[in-house]
Amino acid sequence: MDAASTGGAVLAAVVLLGVLAFAVVRPRGLPEVVAALPAALLVVGFGLVPVAAAVDEVAALAPTIGFLAAILVLAELARRHGVFAWAGNGMARLSGGSPRRLLGAVFVVAAATTAVLSLDATVVLLTPAVLAAAAAVGARARPAVYATTHLANSASTLLPVSNLTNLLAFAASGLTFTAFAGLMAGPWLVAIAVEYVVLRLYFRSDLATPARPAPTQRRPAPVAALVVLGATLVGFALAEPLGLPLVAVAAAAVVVLGAVPAVRSPRETASAVARAANLPFLVFVLALGVVVVAVQRGPVQGWLAAIVPARADLVGLLIAAGIAALAANLLNNLPATLMLVPLVAHSPGLVLATVLGLNIGPNLTYVGSLATLLWRQVLHGHGRPPSTATFVRLGLVSVPPVLVAAVVALWVALRLGGWR
């Protein structure tokens, strides 16, 4: 490699790390895109990415990003219809005051929310409802909170819509929506089951406190919103055979769920929808995609290609998932997805194993280890250093068994389905 291309590769890597660091520290609370967009222009300007390649990357990501925006808006509209408040009330009632039954209810609701409305909805919109449920029955919040945050990652493997990483991998895999879901159903259930066992053991003393039956008033179900969400799922499954784009189904659901709030308070709804769609985030993903292309053109991609397995046998699946989990923890799972998925796109099995690693792996450090260090520094600066002891310990005992069990389940699903 000549000096110019070595310099280019180093510059691309430094730019990527700079974008990631900015996104975690967010100086002055600036949105992440403030660094990512100039960085994308920089790598194109320096010729690290030809203009045509940058345009191709943006064009390839755009439909996925549009779909993501629709899902984010759908989750916010579900909140406005009271879906999460109803779920919180339901969890409290189902628990009958027992901490163990509350954990079970949280598992069901958090896994379903993550699968259908994505991990964003679980972390941002469901967690307050989980806290309210724990408070309503006087239970310790810790097991329920960790169940929610862990399932936001480890239960985000079922559908392409459950996680942005899935959407990106789905677009590259060539799988249909139903094939993706069919192959991931087993790994999804197995991951949830193993996660449940680990959390029951880890929090056994918090969960052993006596049940305190407290009468909780039943909250009426937001029937219309639940029917629309159910119909959306059916629509996702039917769209492809009918030749409809998935984003059309999601957009239709947004229009139907948004109609009532839009008529009631048009201006407020419009601004809430715009906030939920999170345009800066969407542009951030596009810009990050271009910066990652710059890195991919350097030697890093060659190194990765040398270690990524070629065959989707059990060992290959385990290695692919392990590399993905490692990359997600070293960097973050979003850039890791952009880097790894093109290398395994030839094999649906390897794509799905990579997705398992990318989604389950982050329970070790959530945002990636580099970013976690920065994040702790930021909170230290604000005078409230977080105790990361529990989530790191819990990550260490849960991620390896959950990941291995899920990959084995994927291997079984691939063999049963006749996939190679």
Binding site: G138, A141, V145, T149, R204, S205, D206, A208, T209, N278
Partner: protein
Amino acid sequence: MTTVLWLVEGSWEACVDAARRLGLRDVVLVHVVDEDAAAGWSGAAAGLFGRGAPRVDTAPFDEAGAAVLDAAVARLGGAPERRLLHGRVEPAVLDACAGADLLVCARDGDRARRGPHNLGRETRYVLDHAPCDVLLVWPGAVPAGVDLPPAP
């Protein structure tokens, strides 16, 4: 005699009932807001990379702690001192015990059998390092079953 009652969700009633039964006066009610749970949530929010760092509202944790103290005051009667503390649980409780004569706390492990699994990690740490006498109470009935080690 000053007594500290360390109150945790799910088991605090037993501590209050013990204080009433023993007629303890000069009681300080202590609850430590669980920073671990809040840290878990804000970590997960930080994991939503690129989304403008969604806000994590820690007020519900404080409200749940205040609710425990309110309920404990109502159950105990009188006007005991109440302290809602933050930070890591174990040092916060030990600090609160400085100058106290007695700490009352509850078991929070396995309630099916008497044995070494009757204490959670934090409770065990506080017992090991308490700067005063400790009264350890069972939440609910004392279990009949017992895990005895083999005779030496």
